[in-house]
């Protein structure tokens, strides 16, 4: 039993040290992601804009999502749960709680993913009701300088 406790402490130590760098400086699925919406301009060209939805995929196989609120009252934490990478292009999200206004499922979601580059993630989630795969584009939120002077009061 003593051996088990020592191994457990060592494992937790290793996981804790790795966790920090893997979330912020990750080049993998783990990371802090901002959802990007693609719409059409009047001339038919693509228009890319952030949707206000974010997802943090932690190194410990948990994740949470939040959205920015239009009222400027900050963020609403809308979904959290765990995930399991099942191959180099698929993973499963187990949604523990979903408070999303758009009624996303609160169960296991099959996901496909591809890192287009280290900071761009293409994801598709499986919609069981009509057996389709819905695409999403996510861009990594990275360590970079604030170009707004730092703190801005929300109106």
């Amino acid at each position: 039993m003593k051996k088990v406790i020592i191994v457990f402490i060592l494992l937790i130590g290793v996981l804790s040290v790795k966790a920090e760098n893997r979330i912020i400086e990750s080049n993998s699925l783990v990371g802090f992601w901002q959802h990007i919406r693609v719409t059409k301009n009047g001339d038919g060209t693509n228009k890319i804009a952030p949707s206000g939805i974010y997802k943090v995929i932690n190194a410990d196989s948990t994740f949470f999502s939040f959205v920015t609120l239009p009222t400027g009252s900050g963020l609403a934490l809308t979904m959290f749960g765990s995930y399991k990478v099942t191959s180099d292009s698929t993973y499963t999200e187990n949604v523990q709680t979903s408070l999303s206004a758009v009624g996303l499922p609160t169960k296991n979601n099959d996901m496909r993913y591809k890192l287009v580059d280290k900071n761009t993630l293409f994801v598709q989630f499986h919609v069981i009701s009509n057996d389709t795969w819905t695409p999403e584009i996510w861009v990594r939120v990275t360590l970079k300088e604030l170009n707004t002077g730092g703190m801005v009061a929300q109106k």
């Binding site: 400027g72 963020l75 939120v141 730092g150 801005v152």
Partner: protein, 152 residues
């Protein structure tokens, strides 16, 4: 041996499950926090104004700060990250691994005081060693809630 491996695996999985719950449903220092300031309303009453800076204090003693600017096309940045250590029920130290806005703070350590005014309101002070002053900050917890509408 098989039994031992199973026991360790079970302990690790249990810890992970608690870590997530600690972050999202925490009532302690661990959590997702939004910085705020207190101003006065026209009628003289104190009014909390949200800022665009957020701090995530993870249960595994790591943290990071980020900014989402609602006024500038949702410009989003991680500002700095590191680890922290709780030293008493009202103090902790922050060890900054990397600070993009102020590189001089890379690998620095900050003394912090904190007090939970209630489970969702945190008063924090960091020690400015240049001015030899404690600088106060107010942080409001980001909680699970149903958004009425998304921003777009």
């Amino acid at each position: 041996m098989k039994k031992s491996i199973l026991t360790v695996a079970l302990m690790v999985v249990t810890c992970m499950a608690f870590a997530q719950k600690d972050l999202v449903e925490s009532k302690s220092l661990v959590g997702i926090w939004q910085q705020a300031i207190v101003d006065k309303s026209p009628d003289g009453q104190p009014k909390v104004i949200n800022l665009t800076t957020y701090k995530v204090l993870n249960a595994d003693k790591t943290f990071y700060c980020f900014s989402i600017n609602n006024l500038n096309n949702l410009n989003s940045n991680v500002i700095h990250f590191g680890s922290y250590s709780i030293t008493s029920d009202s103090t902790f130290t922050e060890s900054v691994t990397k600070h993009y806005a102020f590189p001089a703070l890379d690998n620095s350590e900050s003394l912090m005081r904190y007090k939970l005014l209630d489970e969702n309101m945190l008063l924090m002070q960091y020690y400015n060693s240049v001015n030899k002053q404690w600088v106060p900050e107010i942080w409001v917890r980001v909680t699970p809630r149903k958004p009425v509408t998304n921003i777009n």
